[in-house]
Symmetry: C2
Subunit: 185 residues, 2 copies
DNA sequence: TTGCAAACCTACTAGTAAATAAGTAAATTA
DNA sequence: TAATTTACTTATTTACTAGTAGGTTTGCAA
């Protein structure tokens, strides 16, 4: 079964949110490419907040499947896959969803904010555990606070998807490689 | 002489840009608090792009004065002041201007983009020189590529102003302190 | 004191935004 | 097969957006 209209709207909404920002796209930007009418988008997502909620929820689902699939792999490879994922974001000229939601934070309704918070905490905890495990296995250099290390990795990699819009592509690869190098023993 | 209307518009525009995003505020959001009419804002800044340009220019000017004032201080103190500056951004519930411009990048006209690029390069170069100097003086740990280190510091600190909107205040302080600790010998 | 420009205001336009009401065709279920 | 639901469309509304044309006031300069 090909993806439903609902799924296509979420995908396109996510694309637009991360390329242009929540307030920079309209329902027309979604309905036109999908060759449906404005009201059809409202049928699936009565308000733009409902769409934002669905996008946040989708990211939670995807990350959940991702972390399950990665569970068996060793910390180093898990981190590499994570960083490569951000590389693909960079190549598609989007920014990370966390940064996109963060800069548009005050445009989001309370339930969307909660969903975004849950997703973000999921990512941070996953990274924190990964780092702890890598340290326990002697693959990673010891750091004082694993959550802080996780926060620094997350923030520098997601900020890079933003920063390189302004500077250059090379800067992304530099930061990406450096994150791994710094952690490895 | 108290600050002119023009200056007040730039200040308020900058506040709104960094609190809500470029597409989330209107000229009405500027004219109302300043108790002037919509057209008065258009008198000073015919288009919203002109306002964005002036905001970018203002940041360049401020950073220029900042770097001049800091020139005599030693690297460690320069970095501390820089990080404290970001702490004040965090406290005012804004995000950093670089991240704000980056996420709204495709809403900006070419001349605004150029101005933002110049400002950002100014900051990166200032940080790079600071790190090199600190390393030469033996205050900072040696790193392979000083620009990469600068990029990582900049990205993790400006992303933190975004991330802590979603997570918690503590996370900002953690990252901030860790940046300094990691660099110091 | 006249002329003129800076800094506004009044009043408006054209376009776009999100959102809704009411209707329809096709599929699903009872 | 009758009733209902799903997935839309057509048509419209309300509200706001950036931007403009033209008039007014104020202060300064010739």
């Amino acid at each position: 079964m090909a993806s439903s209209t609902r799924e296509k709207i979420i995908q396109l909404g996510d694309d637009l949110l991360r390329k242009q920002g929540f307030n920079a796209f309209s329902y027309a930007d979604i309905s036109k490419p999908l060759q449906i009418k404005n009201a059809a988008v409202h049928y699936h997502f009565p308000s733009k907040q409902d769409l934002a909620f669905a996008i946040a929820q989708w990211h939670k689902d995807v990350f959940d499947r991702f972390s399950r699939k990665m569970a068996t792999k060793e910390p180093k490879d898990r981190l590499k896959t994570f960083l490569n994922f951000y590389h693909s974001i960079h190549l598609s000229e989007k920014v990370d969803i966390i940064g996109a939601f963060a800069t548009d934070w005050y445009s989001l309704g309370p339930n969307v904010q909660t969903e975004v918070q849950e997703f973000t905490e999921l990512v941070i905890e996953w990274l924190t555990e990964l780092i702890q495990e890598g340290m326990d296995l002697g693959q990673f250099r010891k750091t004082q606070n694993t959550r802080t290390t996780a926060l620094k990795i997350l923030s520098s990699i997601f900020a890079s998807t933003q920063l390189v819009r302004i500077t250059s592509d090379q800067d992304f690869t530099r930061v990406k490689n450096s994150i791994l190098e710094e952690l490895l023993n």
